[in-house]
């Protein structure tokens, strides 16, 4: 049969349908002209290959590489680490003055009690804050409640802890004996009205402090939801 250019090209590209492939092979054995045309197609592919494949081995310009290297100061060591970085604000995002104030407590953000101070001496969350800690997921929109939940995590003692950010106060609390004990408090977003979008500096401080206390990575939404549904036990 007469093979047209499109079918010959398809043969050379390995795209000929199975059903006609066998017939093409038969004809190819008998037909010198057809073989020459297939050779021509293969030659073209080879010429293009020898031209453009040289680019593959050229060094990639730094300006292109740099666009994809957004964290040159550190290597991501694991998926868990990458996820943790995504969920938590980077240290670098916190303005230097704010970070300094964390160290000296100027902003009023302070860790309550200490390891030695005894857990029982820490204040317990109540009212609206306790309700938010009990019921809200991190994904709950800010407009729904005055208090927004940040991340949920476990500390090194295995307690469930959650960061929060409200008009009055931000911080984080850990679950102990069926109650939310406040571990760290900082000024909240200052009642910037309903539906505030910006995280307060206090909430960044809370996250920063929480990061120090965190064992492993923050819990994901599924874990957060199932813990909530189980009453934080």
């Amino acid at each position: 049969m007469e093979w047209d250019d499109e079918l010959i090209a398809a043969y050379a590209d390995g795209e000929l349908h199975n059903v006609i492939q066998a017939r093409f092979d038969d004809d190819l054995e008998r037909d010198d002209a057809l073989r020459a045309r297939v050779e021509q197609e293969k030659m073209l592919r080879a010429r293009l290959g020898s031209r453009y494949d040289t680019v593959i081995n050229d060094p990639v310009p730094e300006r292109l590489r740099a666009m994809l290297d957004t964290e040159p100061r550190s290597q991501v060591v694991s998926i868990a680490e990458a996820r943790r970085r995504r969920l938590l604000p980077q240290r670098a995002w916190i303005p230097a003055a704010l970070a300094a104030s964390l160290a000296v407590g100027l902003f009023g953000g302070q860790l309550l009690g200490g390891r030695e101070g005894g857990i029982s001496s820490m204040p317990i969350a109540g009212g609206e804050l306790a309700q938010a800690l009990d019921t809200q997921l991190a994904s709950t929109p800010a407009t729904v409640s005055a208090t927004r939940i940040g991340v949920t995590f476990r500390d090194s003692d295995g307690r469930i802890c959650r960061t929060f950010d409200g008009a009055e106060v931000a911080g984080f609390a850990c679950r102990s004996n069926g109650q939310w004990r406040l571990e760290m408090l900082a000024p909240g977003s200052g009642g910037q009205g309903q539906g505030y979008q910006q995280a307060s500096s206090g909430s960044l401080l809370a996250l920063q402090a929480a990061q120090e206390r965190m064992a492993g990575e923050p819990l994901d939404e599924t874990q957060e939801r199932s813990l909530r549904d189980a009453g934080w036990r």
Binding site: D5, E6, A9, A10, D13, E15, Q40, E41, L44, R45, R47, L48, G49, S50, R51, Y52, D53, T54, V55, I56, N57, D58, V60, P61, R63, L64, R65, M67, L68, D69, T70, E71, V76, I79, A82
Partner: protein
């Protein structure tokens, strides 16, 4: 660098090759890769993990190139003569090989845009017909007929060279 960025980094040599096949010279090709990367990073939420990043990226690059060629034809650049920028490369390379490369560059540059892009995707990048048709959002029949016409034109030009 996250997984998305790492995968894109691994694709860079291929993207540069595709750019080289589409654009007239090496500088244009790398500019095209850069513009496409910017667009990809902005649109990364639209990429579905588990699907092929190379096809997604080639599509973005091709669309960036279309935008660029439209802008250029509006500007109607008359400054650069046809041969300008073609095949300026390593002078230490074998002159015969350099001449062969120039011939291919010239032939590709002379193709109509629609034929050049199918040649670049199928014959240079090695995409299957179905994949190339998806990248260009055209029916397979349209792809194969453009491919055939592009091939015939290239063979004629290269034989004449």
């Amino acid at each position: 660098m996250d997984a998305f960025e790492a995968e894109l980094t691994a694709l860079l040599p291929r993207l540069r090759r595709f750019g080289r096949a589409l654009a007239r010279d090496a500088a244009d090709a790398d500019d095209l890769v850069q513009v496409a990367l910017e667009r990809a990073l902005k649109a990364r939420a639209q990429w579905v993990p588990g699907t092929r990043l190379d096809s997604w990226m080639l599509k973005i690059m091709r669309n960036c190139w279309i935008d660029e060629t439209r802008t250029r034809s509006r500007r109607a650049r008359s400054l650069a003569p046809e041969e300008d920028g073609l095949a300026v490369r390593d002078p230490s390379a074998d002159p015969e090989q350099a001449a062969a490369m120039r011939d291919v560059d010239r032939a590709m540059a002379a193709l109509p845009e629609q034929q050049r892009e199918v040649i670049a995707l199928v014959l240079v990048e090695g995409l299957a017909y179905r994949e190339a048709a998806d990248v260009l959002e055209i029916p397979i029949g349209t792809l194969t007929s453009r491919l055939t016409r592009g091939r015939q034109a290239l063979v004629q030009m290269l034989e004449a060279a």
